[in-house]
């Protein structure tokens, strides 16, 4: 998926109101009007704006139903965003492991060679 869209979905979930909206529509499809009633301190246009951000980021799907618009959670949306975070950690921790092991490798190899020599001596006896 394009990197801009991943960023967009991460930006979209960075806002507490939008996360609350996501939780609502995750439970089931809801019309915009009903979503707005859950946020009495936020204006209708502001709620519409949040819904647009979530839709543009691919986190919710919208479909018309008469003169209403119904919103529902789009499961794949966050999977894409999660892949972005996942990838960062997986790349980086693999590098940490390699670097830490590389640092101890020379002394571990010396120790292993010493053990080998000692066991050979032991066998010759």
């Amino acid at each position: 998926m394009p990197e801009e869209l991943m960023d967009e979905s991460l930006r979209a979930v960075a806002d507490p109101t939008r996360r609350a909206i996501l939780r609502l529509v995750r439970a089931g499809e809801l019309p915009a009007g009903e979503i707005a009633t859950h946020f009495p301190s936020i204006s209708r246009p502001a709620v519409s704006q949040h819904l647009r951000v979530l839709t543009d980021a691919g986190l919710v799907d919208v479909r018309p139903d008469g003169n209403r618009r119904l919103y529902r959670w789009r499961r794949e949306g966050l999977r894409d965003a999660a892949a972005f975070v996942e990838e960062m950690w997986s790349n980086r921790l693999a590098r940490l492991k390699a670097a830490a092991e590389r640092e101890e490798w020379p002394e571990r190899r010396r120790a292993a060679q010493t053990r080998k020599r000692l066991s050979k001596k032991e066998n010759r006896r």
Binding site: R26, A82, F84, V85, E86, S90, L93, A99, W105
Partner: protein
């Protein structure tokens, strides 16, 4: 993990190096840059800065919360709100690293909490996904 909305990720991996060695990769700027960033500003004490600048210019801004030498590191994790950086605000998530000695090796356990709601399941499967890659990297290091 009982709350459906909680966003906790826990994963474990074995590193063929001692805890003291692995510890330095989380607290020494030069070593931090061996695996994570292009530059790092680290002040490893509670409340101290933990800032890592990526090759691409993104900046991870955190603070050390708890340090038990060679055993445990906790730091807050977020990104400066710059172009192209993931929208995880500084201070919004927490990373806990636990190092447990096992023979000459270290068992590293990572716990990342506070990630955006809904991310958890996919994130956890991602850790599972990369563990085989780590095993490959480890055998590569041994063959070197």
């Amino acid at each position: 993990m009982t709350n459906a909305d909680s966003t906790v990720v826990e994963q474990t991996m074995r590193i063929s190096a001692r805890p003291e060695t692995v510890w330095r990769y989380w607290t020494d700027p030069a070593r931090m840059c061996d695996w994570w960033g292009a530059a790092a500003e680290l002040d490893p004490r509670p409340g101290g800065t933990c800032v890592v600048e990526m090759d691409g210019g993104g900046i991870m801004r955190g603070e050390y919360v708890e340090l038990i030498p060679h055993e445990r590191i906790v730091f807050s994790f977020g990104w400066d709100p710059t172009e192209g950086a993931p929208a995880i605000a500084p201070g919004s998530t927490l990373v806990e690293i636990t190092l447990t000695p096992d023979g000459d090796d270290t068992i590293l356990a990572l716990r990342h909490t506070g990630l955006p709601v809904g991310v958890r399941d996919e994130h956890a499967s991602g850790w599972g996904h990369f563990l085989p890659l780590l095993a490959t990297a480890a055998s590569g290091a041994v063959d070197a």
